[in-house]
Amino acid sequence: MPIPSRRRSLALFAAAIAVQVMLLALQIRRGQQVRLIRVWAIESVSPLGRGAAWSVEGVRGLWSNYVALRHAREEDEQLRAEIAELRMRNAQLESRAAEADRLANLLGFRDEHTEVQMVAARVIGASPDPASHIVLIDRGSRDGVRRDMGVITPEGVVGKIFAVYPDTSQVLLLTDKESGVGALMETSRVQGPVRGTGEPSLMLEYISNEVKVEPGDKIVTSGQDRIFPKDLPVGTVAQVQPDRHSPFQKISVKPTARLDGLEEVLVLLTRQEFVFRKDAEKPDKSERVEKAEKAVTVPVASAVEPKSASASAKPVAATPKPAAPVTLKPAAPVTTPKPVAAPKPVPATAESKPAGETTQQPKPAESPAQPKPDTATQQEQSNP
């Protein structure tokens, strides 16, 4: 098909102009003596280079973002599984770290009271009966644990040994309805049994309406139940209600020890009295050594001796004292695991009178000349 002459002349004109422009570009130098034709060549090629680079980058991106990620799902699942496993392991480690802290606290407490024989135990179970507050620990008769031994934590009293098996024991917690402990108010030294209610709180009983009791008052063991030494923390007064129909107040006590989350406890193998010190109340090293030296001199046989209020806060005297009164024995209302038909007011010192009254009465049979066979048995059990 022949090209029309007009278009042919136009094409010729364009070619002639282009050729001459190229000629000029070959001669003209721009900038740093670079020929214009080179500048044009580079500028005309650079878009191609950019396009090629873009294409290569696109292909590479396609490869790396899609093709190479075809196993990403599997890796993702593997990583998720690994994360779950690591989280579980982390939780276990955190649990172990917390356990280590608790054990360190427990051992620290035991180290602080080297004068007292105690054995650390781990809570390994609880009673399936929700009404009873009993836990199972991993120490038994083979470890020297005997019935009616006291169980504490660094915070305070927990309960007592209720049943002993070769490798395990049952602990009746303070909060159980059948449980109780001989106690007294730390400031006024007025005595009264603390009983479990089946609820998280305890009740301090047989405190006369005339006695001034306020929330926050501390309750400690009296030592007269022949289970716990004197002055172990039991709880703090949470609520006080005078009872018009009764000569005694209704006093609700919050346990010092965390009875709802027990994991490790200490079983007191003796009733030897000691100065209860928590970590926060730790004396400095020299003081601890001094107290430990004093404590070494404490006779084990003086475990059940009742002391006056003023003497209870001091370290036990170095000279051995006579054994407890013959009439003393574990008070039934406080320690018996069986249901109690009626509240028995005598926790330790008097079988037929309320504990509040026992503080008013002279202590019976304090004569060291009247040892009781029960006491000997008790001491034998207390010192395995």
């Binding site: 002459s5 002349s9 010729l12 002639a16 000029l24 003209i28």
Partner: protein, 175 residues
């Protein structure tokens, strides 16, 4: 150069196409270039004349063939570049454009009348200068002024000279 070329387009088949004696165009071009190079040496004011441009315009208007017109302009321009100090192609591009446009115009309007020749030469002179300035700006990166008094005077002088120069060149036509 072929002096017997005919315009094949149907729309201008009735337009008169002038033919010249063999070697006339070549001789005129060489002579013009020689005068362009030599005259300014003896007459400085002769530098204002643009005889190669006048030759390009004349043969473009007379031959009325865009292809031959642009080729003639390109040849004259490149020769002028070769003789001068401008980059090779500066005058070539300008005279290519003038030759193409002149031959395109020559087939449509009357180019025999002296006034039309004066005006056409004036226009083509400025077209030639515009292409030169444009090329200089775009390719050389020089910012030369497009219009000044000297350029106006030169355009008028060249247009005036063209009237007589074209009449002289008419003598070379075949009768």
């Amino acid at each position: 150069m072929n002096a017997r070329m005919e315009i094949p387009n149907s729309y201008d088949q009735y337009v008169e196409v002038h033919k010249y004696y063999a070697g006339a165009i070549f001789g005129v071009v060489v002579l013009t270039l020689a005068l362009e190079a030599l005259l300014p040496i003896y007459f400085r004011s002769a530098a204002i004349l643009e005889l190669p441009l006048l030759v390009t315009v004349y043969f473009g208007l007379s031959r009325r063939n865009p292809s031959s017109g642009l080729l003639l302009g390109m040849g004259i321009g490149l020769a002028q570049d070769a003789l001068g100090h401008t980059p090779f192609g500066m005058y070539g591009i300008a005279k290519t454009a003038v030759g193409f446009v002149a031959s395109s115009f020559g087939s449509r309007i009357d180019v025999e009348h002296p006034i039309s020749r004066f005006l056409l030469t004036f226009v083509f002179f400025h077209l030639h200068n515009a292409v030169l300035v444009l090329t200089s700006r775009l390719l050389l990166g020089q910012h030369e002024p497009y219009l000044d008094a000297r350029l106006v005077i030169a355009s008028v002088v060249n247009s005036f000279v063209a009237v007589f120069f074209f009449a002289l060149l008419d003598k070379l036509r075949k009768t």
